[in-house]
Amino acid sequence: MQINHYAPLRATATLFGRLGLSGRSLVIAVPTLWLFVFFLIPFFVVAKISLSKATISQPPFLPLYEWTSDGSLKFNVFFSNYQFLFSDPLYVNAYLNSIKIALISTIIALLIGYPIAYYIARSSESRRNMLLMLIILPFWTSFLLRVYAWIGFLKSNGLVNNFLLQTGLISQPLVMLQTDFAVYTGIVYNYLPFMILPLYANLVKLDSTLLEAASDLGARPIVTFFTVTLPLSFPGIIAGSMLVLIPAIGEFVIPSLLGGPDTLMIGRVLWDEFFPNRDWPVASALAIAMLVVFVIPIMILRKARGAQIEVQ
């Protein structure tokens, strides 16, 4: 006799169906619940804190509402935290600098990542897997350790300086650590795989007969690249750039370990407000403002991508 292994499942499905829940809504419910609990609720908590006032107490901010002695509900809503962000140029500068550093890093990562992704995509299949493994390999070491390793490379008696001194190219060690250069190096190095992988995924799908067709019609290889390969890899460029740009804007570890005291990035300012200053409301306001700064470029890029997908 054949046992129907699916019978209990089917019975459950029928039960949920009677309750007005289909399998589809159940599947969607899990990520929805996850996002609600771990993203939306914390977001509102932070938004709430950003509207209160800092005090020296536990927790270090005033409650948003309280019952007064005459029994009425009193709201203590302060927008001053947001005003404060604009009154001190530190914050605006930190935002602008974060965006600048993230943008430049993204462009450098794209310029380095594109040829690598192209090369991997054009390699033979067995070689391709090996090369992809090499790209992913650094992830097997802690992110923090890899950033520390760069200190060893870049410090004044580090590997790079020692090598340059010994070969006689320089007579004095270069100051590389605690500069913007070190921050760019760290960000590009750490986020390069996130640029390469989506670009590779795009380029590997590129139909090679399109390249042959271009060549047949009189396009030299470089012209083929700019008229066919590059425009068709646009979605990969967007995806890779988003994956580098967005985390790079909020990056905290790399600028604090590799950057100098004057490397102003929003992640560090946020940290300083939360912990050394213990001004949670201003820090929360900063976080919310950062979110706004993020959401706008994401929406623009998504729209561009949507248009591109429509074209394809």
């Binding site: 067709a213 271009a214 047949d216 019609l217 009189g218 074209v311 394809q312």
Partner: protein
Amino acid sequence: MAELVSGAQTWKDPNATPFIKIENVSKKFGDFFAVNDVSLNIYRGELFCLLGGSGSGKSTLLRMLAGFEKPTSGTIEIDGQDQAGSPPYRRPTNMMFQSYALFPHMTVEKNIGYGLRRDGVPGRAINERVAQIMDLVKLGGFEKRKPNQLSGGQCQRVALARALIKRPKLLLLDEPLAALDKKLREETQFELKKIQETLGVTFIVVTHDQEEAMTMSTRMGVMTGGKIVQVGEPHEIYESPNSKFVAEFIGSVHMFNGRVIEDAADHVRLRSDDAGCDIQVAHGISCSPDEQLWLAVRPEKIHINRTRPAGDANITEGVVEEVAYMGNHSVYLIKLASGKQVRVLQSNLERHDSGATHGSERIFLTWGGASGVVVRP
């Protein structure tokens, strides 16, 4: 040199200079010969079909002409110029790809104009020529569409227009009609031929479809195992195949095995157990006594009789096993005494033929002494 009309049959003129000269060309992939020592001359204005099954090397030969593959040995000359070392973008050829290879991010207009833009033709001239060629392939009104908004037949036209717009000396077409449905394919065959005659461009078409090759080509080359086994006009290939392979590859055919018992200057007689009778061939062939040969007879050249016709050769007996009514003709499946099955085609000349041959009838089959071709394996 005057422009030659495709009806001129240049290939029959022994003094004509070939337009494309392929000499002892081989292409090896590893240890495998994709194309094995092929020599072929193609003349200006021809529509030459390379016909063969998959893996016969026809596409590799085409790709060598386009410059995508380098011959391992041998030379390719186009219009008197050796093409060795010349990359695809410098060759006077254009190719229409089997997958069409239209650029998905460009409109129809941009796709077609791509080749002219690469040559630095000024914008206005490009627009004029694009409009002209779109007219020729009947694509007017689709200028601003993207390839994904076109049907298969429309994509095929864009691909053709894009390959033709640079007025190449030689147009290479890789299975140009394979992706179209049967009806559209048949229409397009004639249209392609007409366009080719209008423009006077030399076409080389790769196809696995023998009907397509027969319909379109001025001459065709049958390929197998990396070699060209026969080159000729469609009727030559069909009526005088030079091997069992070609006979069987082009159209349907019956092969009767026989032993030479009489070898005269004006006829040959074979004894065939296969056919169950003697086979008389009404012309002399070079053969040795007792040699085993094959007679290839096309189904439409075999006749059915109820009574035994006069004669002592080319007459055999069989039982009708199956009759398939196809409208314009009927196909009879007949089993011979030797157990061999023979398909015979008869045109249905009358509407309700009560006297038509029916199943399980015992009948006689005959064919003329000149109807079959003697081939060797």
